[in-house]
């Protein structure tokens, strides 16, 4: 029996190595299934928790144009969460179980959403930096080995590029505005910069899943590679806005062909992952409240559907 499993494992790896996708009904190692449930659900939870800090600003957007675009972005995030929950359910876990894991704290979501959005400029910085960082990760995932996840990513990437552009446009308007507005943009960049760099996860030497994830093509680049790529693409954008660099250690390194940057406060990273960021409790409470207060709607819709079905049968 053990030989059989080893044999299947080898065949499975060979399939991935040859670039074939794995589909839900295909044989897969239990660990592959579990890892994907963990990662895809974490990604889905991030999308719907990510709606909270921005949803907070919809009613206070400074113009109708800003309001409709922000609303569209938040709606997209809800949609992206739904694509991902569906992809995750193909692995044999139910939607209710997934929510249960979020609400109990068993499943995580991206720590970035545990930071508060306190000024209008944060809507710019979040779209530009947070969505920018997420897109880098997601573009990589369009080539991941699990079919439903890869296809959800293709759809998401197509839709997300507007998210980053609208964020940058907000920053640009503020930077071209009054001194107070420009200061607001600067202050927001300074606050979101480090948490954005932390979005790529721990340093490679501390990342426990990297090796296996690369073998299964869940990751095609390491955390540090993606982080560097993000810094390299973002520094010129900061300069284009005419803002000060948020880290005095940022400096072009001719030899490496990359920007050097300062040390990340990993204690803060682990503190927020561990549940003690500025908004962890607030975010989870908001999700639970939405779930509990929506219970009667879910039940009523189901009862109505059953009644209609019975009526049809009776005719």
């Amino acid at each position: 029996m053990e030989i059989d499993i080893n044999c299947l494992d080898l065949e499975f790896q060979a399939k991935i190595d040859s670039g074939k996708t794995i589909e839900p009904k295909d044989w897969m190692p239990e660990k592959y299934r579990k890892t994907h449930i963990r990662q895809i659900s974490q990604h889905a939870h991030s999308e719907i928790v990510g709606m909270l800090p921005e949803g907070n600003w919809i009613t206070r957007a400074p113009s109708l144009r800003r309001k409709v675009t922000l609303l569209a972005k938040v709606q997209d995030e809800g949609g992206h969460g739904l694509y991902l929950y569906s992809a995750c359910e193909t692995l044999g876990i139910s939607r209710d179980e997934l929510f249960e894991q979020l609400h109990s704290g068993k499943a995580k979501y991206s720590s970035i959403f545990n930071y508060p959005a306190v000024t209008w400029a944060d809507m710019g910085a979040v779209g530009w930096l947070v969505d920018g960082a997420a897109i880098m990760n997601q573009v990589m995932l369009t080539r991941t080995s699990f079919g439903p996840y890869a296809r959800a990513m293709v759809r998401i990437c197509k839709e997300e590029s507007f998210h980053q552009r609208q964020g940058f446009e907000i920053m640009l308007s503020l930077c071209k505005g009054t001194a107070v507005q420009k200061h607001m943009a600067q202050e927001s960049l300074n606050r979101w910069w480090w948490p954005s760099l932390m979005m790529f996860g721990p340093r490679d030497e501390e990342s426990t899943h990297t090796e296996q994830a690369i073998k299964w093509k869940i990751k095609l680049k390491t955390n540090d590679e993606l982080r560097q790529q993000f810094v390299d693409q973002t520094v010129p954008q900061i300069e284009l806005l005419g803002l000060e660099l948020p880290d005095p250690a940022i400096k072009w390194n001719e030899e490496r062909g990359h920007y050097d940057f300062g040390a990340i406060d990993w204690d803060e990273f682990w503190r927020v992952v561990g549940g003690n960021g500025p908004c962890n409790r607030e975010r989870l409470a908001a999700r639970k409240e939405a779930w509990e207060k929506g219970a009667w709607v879910r039940e009523a819709a189901l009862t109505y559907a059953e009644k209609q079905e019975n009526l049809r049968e009776a005719v």
Partner: protein, 94 residues
């Protein structure tokens, strides 16, 4: 009551003249709600002119482990393709 809304598979015709194509799935209490949810989730950018929703439980799928037996019979029948036939280059319109 602790019951989930059933899952529906969503198929979308992106424009007239094309086939409906699988887009993903949604949860909904009934067919009407499934259509509305599919509209909201899969056509926010005019991706479709028509939607089908089908209860996932109604779909019978082939088993990937039996893929060999199922699809192999067609493998050696190359004569079903036009390129199998040796014809002179001078021959046109065929």
């Amino acid at each position: 009551m602790k019951k989930e809304w059933p899952v529906w598979e969503v198929f979308i015709r992106s424009r007239s003249g094309l086939d409906h194509r699988h887009a993903g799935s949604v949860h909904a209490a009934d067919a009407k709600m499934a259509l509305e949810n599919a509209r909201d989730v899969y056509t926010r950018r005019q991706e479709g002119v028509s939607i089908w929703v089908v209860p996932s439980a109604s779909i019978t799928a082939s088993d990937p482990e039996e893929g060999g037996e199922l699809f192999e019979p067609a493998k050696d029948k190359v004569y079903r393709h036009p390129t199998f036939y040796d014809l002179p280059d001078e021959l046109t319109h065929m």
